[in-house]
């Protein structure tokens, strides 16, 4: 049978349920899902904010006159693009396709906004993408988005200063704390703990083995304060208490200044950070290197991811099969991936179609180092079992508020996680969801 898509408020679940809902939901506010007839010309709306995205879109339009993609570049300031997407879903005029980050996929699932791509044979493209990134958009047995890019993490550092001060590149977090102390002796700082950077804290908890969200049957589980996360919190809490790191926000004006002057000598960043350092501290060219993330246990290889997006098909789309074809092409066809890399998006989610050299446009800045290898290796060792919950943006905000408070009045970061754990459970309840504290049953 041909899969029937759901109406606006209908089901994104199994195909049978979807068909039923489509029948029920195709009233005045429902809409039709169709297969494109041969030769029929259609236009699909696509919202994205990737710089340079217009190039692959133009290439597609050149070769696919029947399925024209109408690109709308949206502004990604403070998550406003998602608010608009949610509002558009509510109003029934969501785009056909949109770029959304991995972490917000579940929030759109709550609105029944995403097409179950498995119903259109989406699963057969799995092998074209990095495994854990594909897995990020799998909920239940269905995949809801095609991965676009990711941000495997690493440690950017001023090798010249580390060498001059005879500080070894830290391999473990214990060594990292020692290095922080040593750097401080020279009047500089190793890093800043940015209270409002929830993404990075989540990534570090992820690396440590934390599992913030999960499911148990029909219930969401929340464990912001699980043991690995508390360990990460304690670690940074101590560094802040000992005044070994700054507490200014990262990737903001003051931080850029510190990066330029060498007041801050390293950064726990992600693959996309090369452009950021190069552009903001051009005078430090040649002095930087990238290294792997420090480990909690020597010799381990646990990695983390910070950022990354998908291309998702929205349930308002009338021609999901064509939308899926475009999403897959955009993110895995070599000619498209090349153009995306050129435009400067994150790390490709596609496993082939480019060479490491393509990813190293800024090698001189890193003293000729093949720095992308660090991130490629990191990308392979990211734990695939991490799942995002339906209120991640709120969670980041709550973490930010609580960390600000804790830094202001000197309480331990442990209490932050406990507090946010409680708040997050309330947030999920407010969304009308079943929720409990603790690990998911399928953890492992």
């Amino acid at each position: 049978m041909s899969p029937r898509g759901p109406g606006r408020r209908a089901v994104v679940g199994a195909a049978a349920a979807a068909a039923g809902a489509a029948l029920a939901g195709c009233g005045d506010d429902g809409h039709e899902v169709r297969e494109r007839r041969k030769g029929e010309k259609i236009t699909l709306n696509f919202w994205s904010w990737v710089p340079g995205i217009e190039n692959p879109v133009a290439l597609w339009n050149e070769h696919h006159p029947e399925v024209r993609i109408n690109l709308e570049k949206v502004s990604a300031v403070g998550g406003a693009q998602y608010a608009k997407m949610h509002a558009a879903v509510k109003a029934g005029d969501a785009p056909d396709l949109a770029q959304i980050e991995y972490s917000v996929v579940p929030s759109f699932l709550l609105d029944n906004a995403l097409v179950d791509l498995s119903a259109y044979g989406g699963d057969r493209y799995r092998s074209r993408f990095v495994g854990w990134q594909w897995q990020q958009s799998v909920y239940g047995r269905s995949v809801y988005a095609i991965p676009q890019d990711s941000g495997p993490m690493g440690l950017f550092l001023r090798q010249d200063l580390f060498d001059e001060w005879r500080i070894r590149t830290p391999r473990t977090w214990a060594e990292y704390a020692d290095a922080a102390r040593a750097v401080r002796k020279h009047g500089a700082w190793i890093e800043t703990f940015s209270a409002t950077n929830g993404n990075r804290f989540a990534a570090l908890a992820w690396q440590a083995g934390g599992r913030w969200f999960g499911t148990r049957g029909d219930t969401w589980t929340v464990a912001i304060d699980d043991a690995p996360s508390l360990r990460v919190a304690d670690f940074w809490s101590r560094l802040v208490d000992d005044e070994l790191i700054k507490t200014i926000p990262d990737r903001q004006n003051a931080w850029y200044k510190d990066i330029q002057t060498g007041d801050i000598v390293s950064w726990l960043g992600a693959s996309w950070g090369d452009a950021l350092l190069t552009g903001n501290a051009p005078d430090t060219a040649g002095k930087w290197r990238a290294a792997s993330l420090p480990q909690w246990k020597r010799g381990e290889n646990a990695q983390a991811n910070w950022g990354g997006s998908t291309t998702a098909v929205f349930t308002d789309c009338t021609y999901p099969r064509d939308a899926l074809a475009f999403a897959v092409w955009l993110n895995s066809a070599p000619e498209a991936v090349q153009l995306l890399i050129k435009g400067g998006y994150g790390f490709p989610s596609a496993v082939s179609g480019y060479s490491t050299a393509d990813l190293e446009g800024r090698r001189e800045f890193f003293g000729g180092q093949h720095y992308s290898r660090i991130f490629i290796e990191a990308g392979k060792a990211v734990d695939t079992s991490w799942k995002w919950g339906p209120t991640v943006d709120t969670l980041y905000q709550r973490l930010g508020d609580a960390f600000l408070e804790a830094i202001g009045d000197g309480t331990a970061f442990r209490s932050v996680l406990r507090k946010v754990q409680g708040e997050t459970i309330e947030d999920l309840k407010d969304k009308g969801l079943k929720v409990e504290a603790g690990q998911s049953s399928a953890s492992g």
Binding site: W47, E72, V74, S75, A76, G78, A87, K90, W272
Partner: protein
């Protein structure tokens, strides 16, 4: 004694005004200096002095980045503010005139409701308005920003004050006796008499629309429809991925101030005939 105040007073006055002018102009000066810097110098050099200035190159970069999207934004801003303010002025003039010069039941009630409209916070209106506009297919179009912009409760307030003072009843009666229709009276006599107030309403509404961030933020998705400040905030928001955008944001902000300066210079002489002038003329 002459009309001139004593010299001592004039010096004190002038120096106080100068200090105030420094306060208001220092950030503008900073903006001017910074518009000549690249991203590295923006963060790395003293803010109040030039470093390796290439103003023409940098401003050219701003204008041509992303296929000249900046120019599109600028034109959009001018369109929203110009057309919106013009329509708002006409609507306010008509409504203010009606409220001032006609006696009818519910007049004060209507006026009070309009005034209360001033008190409603933008965030309270934006999202429901977006949903309403989406239903009728207006969201993400020029209309989505233009239509709400033509409402100026404050403009109605000003026009009512002004009309009640500056439009003599006797003149209206005379025109009516001559057999002129109400529309014609409004079009020929009233608008002319109210013109000082209308310039003020136009100016304030122009700036109001020009400065409005929230409405376009909520209403527009397509960056081709953005007004200038929404586009600039978008650039700044993406600057952590594409650092040259810091430089473009600052340069773009600098250029966005220019139209307003021109507008104020041109309309300067109309300020003299102030909006409250009519209120004591009677």
């Amino acid at each position: 004694m002459s009309q001139q105040p004593p010299l001592r007073h004039r010096i004190i006055t002038l120096s106080l005004l100068s200090v105030a002018a420094i306060y208001f102009l220092v950030p503008v000066y900073w903006l001017t200096v910074s518009a000549t810097k690249d991203t590295g110098d923006l963060f790395g050099t003293f803010g109040f002095w030039f470093a390796n200035p290439h103003p023409v190159d940098y401003l050219h970069d701003v204008l041509t980045y992303d296929d000249g999207i900046y120019v599109t934004w600028m034109l959009n801003s001018l369109l929203y503010a110009g057309v919106g303010a013009l329509a708002a002025t006409l609507l306010s003039a008509a409504a203010g005139y009606a409220l001032a010069k006609f006696v009818f039941r519910g007049r004060e009630a209507i006026f009070n409701v309009i005034l209360a409209g001033v008190l409603i916070p933008g965030t309270a209106l934006a999202l429901p308005l977006y949903l309403l506009f989406s239903e009728v297919g207006l969201a993400n179009t020029y209309w989505a920003v233009l239509v709400p912009s033509v409402v100026s409760p404050f403009g109605v307030y000003l026009c009512r004050i002004y009309a009640s003072a500056a439009v003599p009843d006797s003149l209206l009666e005379a025109a009516r006796i001559d057999g002129a229709g109400e529309t014609r009276i409004f079009g020929t006599v009233v608008l002319r008499l109210m013109s000082p107030a209308l310039v003020t309403v136009f100016l304030f509404q122009f700036v109001h629309i020009w400065n409005n961030f929230f409405l376009p933020l909520v209403m527009l998705n397509d960056s081709d429809l953005y007004p200038i400040q929404l586009g600039l905030v978008g650039w700044q928001g993406y600057a952590d991925r594409a650092p040259e955008l810091y430089q473009y944001t600052v340069g773009g902000a600098f250029m966005s101030v220019i139209p307003l300066m021109v507008l104020m210079g041109v309309l300067q002489r109309y300020w003299r005939t102030g909006l409250a002038e009519g209120s004591v003329k009677t």
